[in-house]
Amino acid sequence: MTTTVDQSAARPATTAEPVLRADPLGRCLAAALDAADAADVLRLDSQPLRAAHATGLRRVGFPGDAYVLALVGGTGVGKSSLLNALAGGVVSAASVRRPTTSEPIAWVPHAEHEALEPLLDWLGVDETREYDASGLGPLAILDLPDMDSVATSHRDRVETLLPLVDAVAWVTDPEKYADAVLHDDFLRSWLPRLGRQIVLLNKADRLAPGDARRIRRDLEADLASGAIRGSDVAVLVTSAISSGGTDDLQAWLSSGAESKRVVRERIAASIAAAARDLAWTAGEGRAGAGKPFLDAATREAATRAASEAVLRAVDVAGLERQVVAATQAAARARGTGPLGRVTSFVYRASGRETAVADPNRYLLRWRERASLGPAIEAIREAISGPIRHAPPAIRPALAGSIDPVEVRRGLERGVDRAIRDIGHLEPPTSRVWPLLGLLQTVASAGIALSAAWVVVWLIVRPETGSIVLPVLGPVPSPFAALVASLLVGYVLARLVGVHARRLGSRAAARVRDRITVAVEREVRGTAFDRLDELDAARTRLASALDQIDRWCAAAR
């Protein structure tokens, strides 16, 4: 069965809006819209709820102080005869020919006729008959075409009108009361969507009194066995031809039916019913409905795994090496003698330094290194459980919440942000280095001088005894000086190296910690963005449904 959407109803009657806000029905309608919006995020079918909302909004906008009751039933059950019996004259032509009534006929109180004109227009009812005040209450009765004959257009008409009318009298008879069409196609889906309604077992005149009672009980049992809400609908036995055959019906019609309330009841009932259907598809009320899709522990584990994978892709180990190398390069430039400066220059000029000792460049070019696939997969895998346990209708939205392309983009932006936050990485430096450099220069000078001394001593060969060659034990001094300054130079170079490495490692550890924290923060922030939206939508849906439960009930 389809709910017909009246497109024109999508435009709310503006005059009704401010009045609506405060009262329960207004809140019920507003909550319906909320629920529909949330359902859209979850990719659930919000159409029935929206239609109920639009119809409701439209209905309260109509003037007139009467409600519309439709007579619905199969062909030949005596809808028209019943109306005629109520009216005490011919309102709608009854005949033995089936189906008899093909166009709805409205029977309206004289006083309300004019006011009801727009409403009847909206219902698409052209034929109207007036009646004078008769104690039936403020009531327009619609005699509808049948819904079970070979004329299928009649049934279409009934299905178009059912969402719009305020109350329904389901008419059946001893022959048709157990028909599948009546029960399966109409009562089951419409009883919960209506407020004021009654089931009439007509043609009681054909039955012995005891039989009427038995059939009525049987019908009541059928209604209850459908396990439908609203099965508490009453069954009345009527007859259009025996005297007093419509007394019960008249009593029901004239009792406690304030028209505004009937209209409210109907709107609230149809919204509540659509909301119930939605709640059922959304899995509200099932195990785990109130909790987020992803439990905190799984989420935390996935975030961690994804962060680790991102850090592996960024290659933090490589970054650390670069930091150490950069520190060493800086030390080489500042903490060494002339020779070191030459080496440093060569390294820089050849591009080797940029390649292995430039952490900033290394970090910025992280995209070139490895894919984020494993990281995305860690995130994706986290929603496996939720997908498996989600109600089928939610699965498309849930499975679609981790879109690899989108997650990749999110992670990439996150890593970029993390790198930007860390800022420029300056390799550490030390005041010791220039001092060591000075000493190294002195040592280099020593090496040079002692080497010169050795050369002079070897080449010039001064006569023995002409000068006194200082000796240190058995070794001539020039050699000793050379060896000593070489030794000093070596030790100084090692010292600078070791110191730089230590400084570098410490700096690298700091960089590692910072990027780890930054990446984890970013992953946490972006990985489950869409899932969080779904969670929020579900929470919103649940609370809107609660509101509907509460205010739509209050409106009735």
């Binding site: 199969g74 062909t75 030949g76 059950v77 033995v96 020919r97 089936r98 189906p99 079970d148 004959s149 070979v150 004329a151 299928t152 008879d173 001893p174 022959e175 048709k176 009361y177 157990a178 028909d179 599948a180 069409v181 029960h183 054909r206 039955l207 038995r214 059939i215 049987d218 059928d222 994978a309 592996r312 892709a313 290659d315 180990a317 490589g318 080797r352 390649a355 292995v356 070139e368 290194r369 490895a370 894919s371 696939g373 494993p374 995305i376 997969e377 860690a378 994706r380 895998e381 496996s384 997908i387 498996r388 346990h389 989600a390 089928p392 699965r395 498309p396 499975a399 679609g400 690899p404």
Partner: protein
């Protein structure tokens, strides 16, 4: 003996039965399709098989109609006793009540009612009757007891004469007319009773005229006639309240035409034969039509099924393409693992394989002084793990795309709603792919050994080891590119360069390229197989590829054969 069914028909029945069974087994995807398939099976079993075997089998006269129309009351009138309970509570009758001569009972159970569970049949035996004809009171066709409708539908397929009972209130109801349209399709001889008529003569005339109009509109005039070229029999109108004193049956006079017809059929075998062959001719006509319409159904389903299959195929194909793309560019390889490998291949004692002069000697010395171990396990584990992650991600994406598309198709939506696993990669995906990758790496090692036998490779490479070379080739499949020079010293490029130099030094350039190409092809096979297995989970929910088109073709062929049958002689 007069009146036999064509011999050709008997030969056909077995095959048709088989076709009907296959059609039902193919799980018709629409309600109409299912109904047609059931009708075919029921018609074959309940009528055609019986009549093909013998026109002497007991005739089945069926009383059918909506709930509360008075079928049981009329049945009791014919039976002349309270055989079927009547009452005001609906539906009254929930089983088929069969009035039968004791001799005919077994023939019916084995024949026309062979497809009906015994619990749904109640036999009322009357030895005083003449044999050869059974009257059946069907349950209703339109109450909320759906089982009643199913049973009545089966009985319609098995009947030789249908007596349709409706009322002044009911006669324009849609559901009974749907049943009548099947009676029309089946070419079933028909009688119509309109019960509960008003006493007013003008009203009665108006109603009867309207019913006649509807019957003519439904093309049922032919079937209403008593025989070929005879005019349509008149409707039998029963006034409301014309009950006999017993209360559960009518005054016998009211349904006289029906009683006369039954009496005529009971008394004359020829008349029975004539009716039976008329009914059979109708059934065969309906059979031809039915087979063609079911073939249409099957063809439409085949198109739908192919569309679903294509959706799955496309999703998994694009997933596989994405993985192969990652593989080709080695993008999923971890820098860390590569660095391990680079520092190993770059170590002195390995570089000696591709160095000249001093480097070579230095390597030989280094090998003696400081042996290095290859990071085979680490590199393999890291590579396999990441490759599996990347593949699983794409498999999940393909599953999601397929399931989402299927969820939007009414015929497939229940499948993906019930099988939540279809939304995800299969549980065994990792294990299967890992096994595939392990076998792939082993295959590389075997390949190297096979090539090494004919060359001096093993002698040279012995110190390196087959596992190491296998790992080298494995990385080569991800990293090998034509134009690397080693100037760009990114780890991937550097590793590729060194790795390539090592491999080409050991195998020679040509053999290396071949090895790597082989390995790549085999890896693609492993991944393709893994994705195929994933896709097959969806395919398993569809009929196999040629099944439906074949079935449609066979149905059409059968329809042609049925049409070519000679009409049964009366």
């Amino acid at each position: 003996m007069i009146g036999t069914a064509p011999v050709e028909l008997r030969a056909l029945v077995e095959r048709l039965d088989d076709l009907a069974a296959r059609r039902l087994a193919s799980r018709p995807r629409t309600q109409e399709g299912l109904t047609r398939a059931r009708q075919l099976a029921d018609l074959l079993r309940g009528h055609i098989r019986v009549r093909a075997a013998s026109l002497d089998a007991p005739l089945v006269v069926l009383l059918v109609g909506p709930t509360g129309a008075g079928k049981s009351t009329i049945f009791n009138t014919i039976a002349g006793r309270s055989a079927s309970p009547t009452g005001v509570l609906r539906p009254t009758t929930r089983v088929a009540i069969v009035l039968v001569h004791p001799d005919d009972r077994q023939a019916l159970v084995d024949g026309a009612f062979a497809g009906i569970p015994p619990s749904q049949l109640r036999f009322v035996e009357d030895a005083a009757l003449e044999s050869g004809l059974a009257v059946v009171d069907a349950p209703d066709i339109d109450s909320l007891e759906h089982a009643n409708r199913a049973l009545a539908d089966r009985l319609v397929e098995a009947a030789d004469l249908c007596c349709f009972i409706t009322t002044a209130t009911r006669y324009a109801d849609r559901v009974p007319w749907a049943v009548l349209s099947r009676v029309e399709e089946r070419g079933l001889p028909l009688l119509v009773i309109v019960n509960r008529m008003p006493s007013d003569l003008a009203d009665r005339a108006e109603i009867l005229a309207d019913v006649r109009r509807l019957l003519a509109g439904a093309d049922l005039s032919d079937q209403l006639s008593a025989g070929p070229d005879a005019p349509p029999r008149d409707l039998i109108a029963v006034r409301e309240g014309d009950l006999a004193s017993a209360g559960d049956r009518l005054l016998p006079e009211t349904v006289r035409p029906l009683r006369d017809e039954i009496a005529r059929l009971r008394s004359a075998r020829d008349a029975r034969h004539e009716l039976a062959s008329r009914a059979l001719a109708g059934s065969l006509l309906a059979l031809g039509e039915g087979l063609d319409r079911i073939a249409d159904d099957v063809e439409h389903e085949a198109i739908d099924v192919e569309a679903l299959r294509r959706t799955a195929a496309r999703s998994y194909e694009s997933g596989l393409t994405a993985v192969l793309d990652e593989v080709r560019h080695g993008r999923f390889l971890r820098e860390e693992a590569l660095r391990h490998w680079q520092s190993y291949v770059g170590a002195d004692q390995i570089t000696r394989f591709f160095s000249q002069g001093i480097g070579r000697i230095r390597g030989a010395v280094a090998a003696l002084v400081r042996p290095v171990t290859a990071p085979v396990t680490e590199v393999r584990a890291a590579t396999t793990d990441d490759l599996i992650d990347v593949a699983r991600l794409q498999a999940a994406e393909a599953a999601r795309r397929t399931a989402t598309a299927w969820a939007a198709e009414p015929s497939a939506a229940p499948t993906v709603a019930e099988e939540s696993d279809l939304w995800l990669p299969s549980a065994g995906f990792d294990d299967r792919l890992r096994a595939g990758l392990d076998a792939w790496i082993d295959g590389i090692a075997a390949d190297i050994q096979a090539r090494g036998e004919s060359k001096r490779l093993l002698a040279r490479g012995a110190s390196v080891g087959v596992n190491v070379l296998g790992t080298g080739v494995m990385l080569g499949t991800f990293l090998h590119t034509g134009g690397l020079t080693g100037v760009e010293v990114g780890v991937a490029a550097g590793t590729a360069f060194l790795n390539q130099k090592l491999l080409s030094a050991l195998f020679g350039e040509a053999a290396m390229v071949e090895l790597i190409a082989d390995a790549r092809r085999r890896l693609a096979d492993v991944l393709t197989e893994a994705f195929e297995a994933e896709r097959a989970r969806f395919d398993a929910h569809l009929p196999s590829s040629g099944e439906l088109p074949d079935l449609a073709e066979e149905l059409r062929a059968a329809a042609r054969e049925v049409r070519a049958l000679p009409t049964p002689a009366g």
